[in-house]
C-alpha cells in the first residue's frame, strides 16, 4: 500500500469527505457517551478513536445506520473498557478527575467522597445488564428516545419503559 506523502502542519486527506463530515458531526457525541461511562475524558477520547476506526474499517461513511452504529458502539466499547479496569485502576482514575464541576471541592474529604461515589457508579454500570447500562449512558449523554431506539435497535415506544427499568435498577444497585 502506497501512502501519500506527509505534509507537515497540514491534516493529511486520508479519509473521504463523507467520513470527515461524519467524524466532525459525531465525535463530540461519541466522546460524550463514552464519558458518561468512563468519567475520564482522555479515556473517553481513546474509546472514541477506536470506535471510529472500527467504523472506518467496516462500514461505508454514508451508511444510513452510521450515527446509530457509532452511538451504540461508543456505549458498548466504554462499558467493555470500564469492565476491563481492575478495582485499583478504577479508583485511581476516579481520583484523577473530579466528579463534575460542582464536585471540584477544595475540601479533600468531599473530593474523596465524590471520587468514591463515582467509583461505585462505574462498578454499578459494569454489573448492570449491557442494554440497561447502555441506555443510561445514551440517555444521560443527551440522546433522544428516537436516537436511542435506533442505536439499540428497539422500538421507540419501548425506550421509556426500558429507561425507567434501567434507572430503577441503577438506583437499587447504588444503594
Amino acid at each position: 500500500m502506497t501512502l501519500p506523502a506527509r505534509d507537515p502542519g497540514h491534516v493529511i486527506a486520508a479519509v473521504s469527505p463523507a467520513f470527515e463530515r461524519l467524524f466532525r458531526s459525531e465525535y463530540a457525541r461519541v466522546v460524550g457517551i463514552a464519558h458518561r461511562v468512563l468519567a475520564d475524558q482522555a479515556e473517553a477520547e481513546d474509546v472514541a478513536q477506536d470506535v471510529f476506526i472500527s467504523f472506518y474499517r467496516g462500514h461505508p461513511a454514508d451508511a444510513s445506520y452510521g450515527r446509530a452504529w457509532l452511538h451504540a458502539a461508543a456505549a458498548h466499547a466504554a462499558l467493555n473498557a470500564v469492565r476491563g479496569r481492575d478495582r485499583r485502576s478504577r479508583r485511581e482514575a476516579a481520583q484523577a478527575v473530579p466528579l463534575d464541576a460542582t464536585a471540584a471541592q477544595d475540601d479533600p474529604a468531599e473530593t474523596v467522597a465524590a471520587s468514591e461515589t463515582r467509583d461505585e457508579v462505574r462498578a454499578v454500570l459494569a454489573r448492570m445488564p449491557e442494554r440497561s447500562a447502555a441506555i443510561l449512558a445514551l440517555r444521560y449523554a443527551g440522546l433522544s428516545y428516537a436516537e436511542i431506539a435506533a442505536a439499540l435497535d428497539v422500538r421507540a415506544s419501548s425506550v421509556g419503559t426500558l429507561l425507567r427499568r434501567a434507572e430503577d435498577a441503577f438506583r437499587r444497585e447504588l444503594r
Partner: protein, 339 residues
C-alpha cells in the same frame, strides 16, 4: 435518588473536545497503521459487528460444547454427537467475561486456564481447486446449492480441513493458577473432575466461499474483503469422556464468575445435552429461531440489523451452515437447494 441524582452520578460536565485535533489524530493513526476503509458497496454485506460477534461466539462454542458431555465414571464412552442444534443467547457480558478470561490467548492457551489442551491431530486447512477434489479430500460428498441469489456471483473457492482431534485434561492446579493470575477466585475444581479427560474430534470439513478475494491475501490492507456467501459442511464433532459427567461439568462451569443468569438458564434448558449442539447467539446483535430446512429442524440466526443471516442444521451425521448477507427466505432457499 431521583433522575437529577442519576444525572449527577453519571457526570454532568460535558467534555470539551477539539474535533480538528481528534480528526488529525485519527488520520495519523489510519496512515501509520495502514488502515484501509471499507470498500463502498452497492448492497449490504456482513458487518464487522456481525463478524466480531461470530468470532467471539466461536470461542464460546468451545465452552458450550464442553457442557454437552456426559458419561459414566471410569469408562470411555462417546457421549456427545449432535443430532440437533439449539440457540443459546450470549450477552455482551458473557463475551466480556470470556474475553477477560482468555484475553490475548489462542484456543490452546485459553483452554489451558482449566487444564491441558493437546492437539493429537492438528487441523490443517488447505485450498483445493474444485468441488470434486474437496469431496475426495474430505471423504464425503460435498453438497452444493442449486440456486443462488443474484447478489452471489462467480465461482466458489474450496477449503478443506482434515479430521482433527484433541485431548483435554482437567487440572485443579491450572484452574487455581489461572484464576490467581487474573486476580480472581474460581470455584475449586471438584476432585472427581481433576485429572479427567475429554477426547474431542471434529471434521473433516469443507468450506465453500463466494466473493472471497482471488488476489494475494491481505493485498487490500488491514481490512479483508468479506465473502458474499459461505457454506460449511462437516462431519459432526464428537466428545468422549473418561470420567466427568454432564451434570458435574455443567454445574462447575455454571458456577464460574461472569456467566449471566440468561446464559445459565439457557444452558440448563438444553433438553438432551448429549445430542444437542448449543449455538451461541450474541443476544444484543442477533435474533434466532428454529426453522425447517432439508426436512429437519435447524436454526436460523440473523443479525438484528437485517443485514446478515445464517442457517445451521444437522442431517445424516453432517453439520451444515449457510452464512451470507441475505434475508431469511433467501438463506433458507439456498439451504434447501443444497444437493
Amino acid at each position: 435518588m431521583n433522575n437529577t441524582d442519576i444525572e449527577r452520578a453519571l457526570g454532568t460536565t460535558e467534555p470539551q473536545v477539539n474535533a480538528d485535533d481528534a480528526l488529525a489524530r485519527f488520520q495519523a493513526r489510519v496512515q501509520s497503521e495502514g488502515i484501509a476503509p471499507v470498500v463502498p458497496i452497492a448492497r449490504p454485506r456482513l458487518t464487522s459487528r456481525w463478524m466480531q460477534g461470530l468470532a467471539a461466539a466461536a470461542g464460546v462454542v468451545i465452552v458450550a460444547s464442553a457442557l454437552a458431555v456426559s458419561g459414566v465414571a471410569g469408562s470411555i464412552l462417546q457421549i456427545f454427537e449432535p443430532k440437533s442444534v439449539v440457540a443459546v443467547p450470549i450477552t455482551q457480558g458473557d463475551l466480556t467475561a470470556l474475553n477477560t478470561a482468555c484475553a490475548g490467548l489462542n484456543l490452546q492457551e485459553c483452554m489451558g486456564a482449566y487444564g491441558t489442551f493437546v492437539w493429537t491431530t492438528q487441523p490443517q486447512p488447505k485450498e483445493v481447486q474444485s468441488r470434486s477434489l474437496a469431496s475426495a479430500a474430505a471423504g464425503f460428498a460435498v453438497l452444493a446449492p442449486a440456486t443462488l441469489p443474484a447478489s452471489v456471483t462467480g465461482d466458489p473457492r474450496y477449503g478443506v480441513v482434515n479430521r482433527s482431534s484433541a485431548t483435554f485434561t482437567f487440572s485443579a492446579d491450572a484452574t487455581r493458577q489461572s484464576a490467581a493470575r487474573q486476580n480472581r477466585t474460581a470455584p475449586p475444581l471438584p476432585a472427581n473432575i481433576d485429572g479427567s479427560k475429554l477426547f474431542i474430534t471434529g471434521g473433516p470439513a469443507v468450506i465453500q466461499i463466494w466473493g472471497a478475494p482471488a488476489g494475494t491475501p491481505g493485498a487490500s490492507g488491514a481490512y479483508p474483503d468479506v465473502p458474499t456467501l459461505v457454506i460449511g459442511q462437516a462431519k459432526a464433532p464428537t466428545v468422549s469422556s473418561d470420567g466427568v459427567t454432564v451434570d458435574e461439568l455443567r454445574a462447575y462451569l455454571l458456577s464460574q464468575p461472569g456467566i449471566s443468569p440468561q446464559l445459565a438458564a439457557a444452558i440448563r434448558a438444553i433438553g438432551d445435552p448429549s445430542s444437542t449442539l448449543p449455538v451461541p447467539v450474541p443476544a444484543e446483535l442477533a435474533i434466532s429461531h428454529p426453522v425447517t430446512v432439508q426436512g429437519v429442524q435447524g436454526l436460523y440466526v440473523g443479525d438484528n440489523t437485517g443485514i446478515a443471516s445464517a442457517v445451521i442444521w444437522q442431517k445424516d451425521g453432517m453439520m451444515f451452515e449457510v452464512i451470507g448477507s441475505f434475508t431469511e427466505s433467501q438463506a433458507l432457499a439456498i439451504a434447501n437447494s443444497m444437493h
